[in-house]
């Protein structure tokens, strides 16, 4: 019984650690105000981007060249690109959550289940960003395509939910003023 509770506590702590890692992934982009505003203002990543960065197609091509120097360069460069994407995704999720919190403060009829659902998705995304960040730094992005695509889909869903929530709150506020 004690062993089981230790395992559960361990898993919770691990997930918490990964969520914090995911939360902190954006810190490199937040170091300068211009980088943050750039990341906010920039258009979202195209769908094909994740497939390109995390796919093995380019890696197979590079491996076929049989040149160690180029293989090393490829691994280094792809790691850099993948980490920029993770940091950007983490930053965008944090932005969506901040905006959601602001909109929720102005809303009078919050739905408990919707709020819990959004919070759960946010936490899952932070854990996934943490896992991606650690795994990319340790081994590069080549085996993480599935997880990255999941993070991309979920972050898009969270952003859409937040946008529609914000629009509904604004419409209600405007209705009250009128």
């Amino acid at each position: 019984m004690i062993e089981l509770s230790s395992v559960i506590i361990g898993i919770v702590l691990l997930l918490l650690g990964l969520a914090i890692k995911g939360w902190l992934a954006a810190r490199h982009l937040q170091e300068t105000a211009s980088a943050t505003s750039e990341a906010y203002a920039a258009p979202p990543c195209p769908e094909s981007f994740v497939s390109r960065v995390f796919s093995r197609g380019d890696w197979e091509f590079v491996r076929g060249l049989r040149a160690d120097g180029i293989e090393r360069l490829f691994r280094r460069e792809r790691k850099k690109v993948a980490l920029v994407w993770v940091r950007q995704t983490s930053l965008m999720i944090r932005k969506a959550m901040r905006e959601h919190a602001e909109a929720a403060r102005q809303s009078e009829n919050l739905e408990f289940t919707t709020e819990i659902n959004i919070l759960a998705q946010f936490l899952i995304l932070m854990v996934v960003c943490g896992i991606l960040s650690v795994a990319i730094e340790a081994a590069g992005p080549l085996f993480l395509g599935g997880l990255a695509r999941f993070a991309q889909r979920l972050s898009q869903r969270v952003a859409k939910v937040q946008e529609s929530f914000q629009a509904a709150t604004l419409a209600k506020t405007a209705g009250r003023i009128a």
Binding site: L29, A35, E38, A39, A41, A42, P43, P44, C45, P46, S48, F49, R52, V53, G57, D58, F61, V62, L65, A67, G69, I70, L73, F74, E77, R78, K80, V81, V84, W85, Q88
Partner: protein, 152 residues
């Protein structure tokens, strides 16, 4: 000019740009470099004498920006193998020796100015990384060719 008229005018200018200028340039990378060169470094505004004479200055600028973004999107999305081919076309079309072009591109990284304004940060990083890799791959390929030629 009303918004729908402006959109039509930009589309016409864009078609004109494709037909008269871009179709004569071989390869998307060369087209990208050409379009980036029509942008003022200080203001970020695009200018093309011929296009501005046929259309308004502002319309011509918007058409150039549109073409720049579109071609950049195509290059950023292509595979590394396709990009190596693009860089090879560009290097081969230059008047300088291909080794010289490769060396200068690796040192000065002039392709960084080919990024459109407000491009997604991760996509920009992928573009720069892929060009860096394509240059290294081409250099490696040329060195192998030279070695093979000297042996035979």
């Amino acid at each position: 000019m009303a918004v729908p008229d402006r959109i039509v005018a930009v589309e016409q200018a864009y078609d004109d740009l494709l037909r008269r200028s871009l179709s004569k340039i071989e390869g998307d990378l060369a087209r990208l470099i050409y379009l980036a060169s029509t942008r003022d470094y200080n203001t970020g505004k695009y200018h093309h004498d011929g296009l501005a004479a046929r259309f308004q200055e502002e319309i011509a600028g918007q058409a150039l920006e549109l073409a720049h973004r579109e071609i950049f999107g195509r290059i950023a999305a292509c595979s590394l193998e396709e990009l190596v081919d693009q860089v090879e076309i560009y290097v081969s079309s230059s008047r300088q020796s291909r080794e010289e072009v490769l060396q200068v591109w690796q040192k000065l990284e002039p392709y960084r100015v080919a990024l459109p304004v407000d491009v997604n940060m991760a996509v920009a990083q992928l573009f720069v990384s892929n060009i860096k890799l394509a240059l290294a791959i081409l250099r490696h390929r040329y060195q192998r060719e030279e070695l093979a030629a000297s042996r035979s």
